[in-house]
């Protein structure tokens, strides 16, 4: 167990090192990316440029700059932005995390419940019109880009029909902390939750249905049916549990990348200042310290989530458990 943990830790460090070197090198290889002139301000004299270059250490060799950046990111945690002078990026990412967590947790609940409902209902009524209708709806959900859907929803709820009885409750875009105003938090997030969840409901619902239908031809399902168990018990207790394996591994990865900043488009469209929006701003401003911080944060989540998924496998699948 300890060995496995250590191995995981070693892998994590290696992944982080590889990504950080890549981000660092790509940044400095980009023509015009040298941040000195942007920090110094337009029409800065050569002397001011030299002062800034020295202050920020851009006059040092790249490996030294890399090492200094990593030390101030992970050890002293006082790495500051190139764009918002003096802004410490590590606390900024941690301040953004609750926004992203609120968005992703809520959306995950919506999409897990809705897709399980959709998958099981479609399986139970497989071949019927309801089954086909649900699968087509799922496909439509998958096909709608989240930023387009978000903008259209905003157009309707914030602009065109904002004054109607249906949407007059919709607050302005932005985030309200849960601790400050729970009702406001819910109101502000419920539309982003649904918007972000729609794509995943489509994917997960279809995947689950396919797995469930496949499960019905398995021996253990036939045994369960032969034992005279009720149809719902066969479906939920025997079928659903084993069919959840693909669902859970997909969920682990999707959830982790969303928490790590993958909900970028949803956050930007709805003005939620989460990690995704931070990543978006860092990239559009070419702000290396903030890019580095958000990328590292995201990488940590993906690695952690993979570990969690491995543990969940053991709980779900008796074959994996017994093999261990």
């Amino acid at each position: 167990m300890a060995m496995a943990l250590l191995r995981r830790l070693g892998q994590t460090v290696l992944v982080l090192f590889g990504i950080s070197v890549l981000v660092f090198l790509v940044f400095f290889a980009t023509p015009g990316a040298d941040p000195t002139a942007r920090i110094a301000g337009r029409n800065a004299s050569p002397e001011t440029m030299a002062l800034i270059r020295h202050q920020y250490g851009f006059d040092r060799p790249l490996p030294v700059q890399y090492e200094r950046m990593m030390v101030s990111l992970f050890v002293t945690r006082d790495l500051t932005s190139f764009v918002d002078h003096g802004e410490r990026v590590v606390p900024e990412v941690f301040r953004a995390a609750p926004v992203t967590l609120s968005l992703v947790f809520g959306a995950a609940i919506v999409w897990v419940l809705a897709s399980i409902g959709m998958g099981t209902l479609a399986t139970a009524l497989r071949g019927s019109l309801v089954d086909r209708g649900l699968m087509i709806l799922g496909l439509i959900g998958i096909s709608m880009p989240v930023f387009w859907l978000g903008e259209v929803i905003n157009l309707v709820t914030q602009s065109r029909m904002h004054d109607s009885w249906m949407f007059s409750w919709v607050p302005g875009l932005g985030y309200v902390p849960l601790t400050q105003d729970p009702v406001g938090w819910f109101k502000v997030l419920v539309i982003p939750w649904i918007t972000l969840a729609i794509l995943f409901i489509g994917i997960y619902g279809r995947v689950l249905r396919a797995d469930l239908v496949a499960a019905y031809s398995e021996d253990f399902m036939r045994t369960a049916q032969a034992k005279g168990l009720s149809a719902s018990r066969v479906l939920f207790r025997h079928g659903l549990r084993t069919s959840m394996i693909t669902f859970v591994s997909l969920f682990g990865l999707d959830f982790a990348q969303l928490v790590g900043g993958g909900a970028l488009l949803t956050e930007v469209v709805f003005g939620l200042q989460g990690v995704g929006r931070l990543t978006y701003q860092a990239l559009s401003n070419l702000d290396l310290p903030l890019i580095m911080a958000t990328v590292m944060y995201s990488a940590v989540f993906v690695v952690l989530a993979n570990a969690l998924v491995d543990i969940l496998y053991v709980l779900l699948d008796p074959r994996v458990r017994d093999a261990g």
Binding site: R38, A44, H85, G172
Partner: protein, 543 residues
Amino acid sequence: MRWLAAAAMMAVAMPAAALAVDLHRGGTLHLTASSGVDTLDPQISYNSQSTELFAAVYDGLATFPKAAGADNAVADLAEALPVPTDAGRTYRFILRPGIRFSNGQSLTVDDVAASLRRIFKAGSPTAGSFYGNIVGAQACLRSPADCTLAGGVVTDPAIRGITIRLVHADPEFLDKLAWTHASILPASAPPHDAGDTPLPGTGAYRIVSYDPHHGMLLDRNPYFHEWDAVAQPDGHVDRIRLDYGLDEEAEITAIENGQFDWMYENKPLDRLGEIAGRYTAQVHVFDLPSLYYLAMNTRQPPFDRLAARQAVNLAVDRRAAVLFMGGPGAMLPACTMLPRGITGHVPDCPSLGAGSPDRLRPDPVRARALVAASGTRGMRVILVVNASRNEDALGENLRETLSRIGWDAEVRSITPAVQFNYIQNSANKVQISLTGWDADYPGPADFLQVLFDCRNIHPGSNSSINISAFCDPAVQAMFDRANATPDTVSRAALWSAIDRRVMEQSPVAPLVQRRYVDFVSRRLGHYVNAGIYHMLFSQVWVQ
């Protein structure tokens, strides 16, 4: 009798005035912007959001009037603006008494001297270009930590006197002192960029909290008293709250819904019709001293040939440029490098020649002939633009123009984060680029001398603002003459002549002058637009 009438009028007028102030004082002005300023340090920040905000927070010895319709610098922390002596090289100021910073500390001449030194110590972007002419400034630029400005800034605490000596006369020096980078801070301000820590100021408001991704809060400076209603007027609202995070489309909608009073970002083109039609009373439009132009690299073929540069100026369709950049409501065609509203501006298009009946009509026939005469026909020309909806569209139009007159043209669209610095660096061998210039202060030197002075060419540097690398001895001599001319009328004529000469040499092809479209909430009243500060946050009211 006359005295009695005046007294009676005052008696009527006074309560009304007092009532007006009482009625509108208070409340929170709620602003929105996508993201924060570059830094809270007024001596370093170079961002129009901060220029607008800091107008109510910081003061210099001089300032631009915080009132509509006036441009020339006025006295702020100084009692009066001095007339320079010693052939325009010595300025003697007397500091106003009884002014305190927002931390309670009294303002002294030491704070003024320390702030002027801090411009160099903290590395202000304009340290070299605006203040490098102060005696001792060159030593400060070379070694900022040891900066003393000895001989350049001399104080006399007994009479609250500050004397500033320049190496050469500079008729726009008071404008430069009015610019935000010459804000006066406590002498104890750190000798480096203060970043996201607010420094105490003398203005009507102070910054209470700031986070570049969430917002900024300002409230009243408790030690402020109004000393001059034009230099630093007292504010109406009690608090100014700025929320970051929305994009410009969402900002427009939020103002329409009354959730915010004002937005910082430029208004998206697809919404201009909507706000102008449905919210006419909430829209304010005014000219900006700001140009979009094509910079042609005079050291790269084909634009190392005069004929090739002139061909571009003849061929570009400025009317089309107006349409691509937002239409006649938001843009004006421009064919000179001094925009409307700046001293020396002449409503003329010299680059198109006097014979043309419609000076804005492109002349592709003559342009083609010039390209052929320059011997560069068929040459590959790459136009570098910002990757944005408007500039990509305008870039495509310009590419067609360049192709039509004989070159093999291509557009290269680069992220706005780097484009401006990329096109300045001679190492990138950019031939022609679409770029813009906003005035820091409304003076002709801030356009012509900044953009075309030989001393602003720095090969291999990302900061080389003379993007065309244009160096003309005749123009250079005219700069010196203009700066040595004390008389304002003859100086204005000289700047017009410089503008004409530059356009004859065509290192640039000006396209459009920006107009500023401001969109405010229904509840916002007493809109005042004051030059480079745009809408005055201290003057509007929300109740």
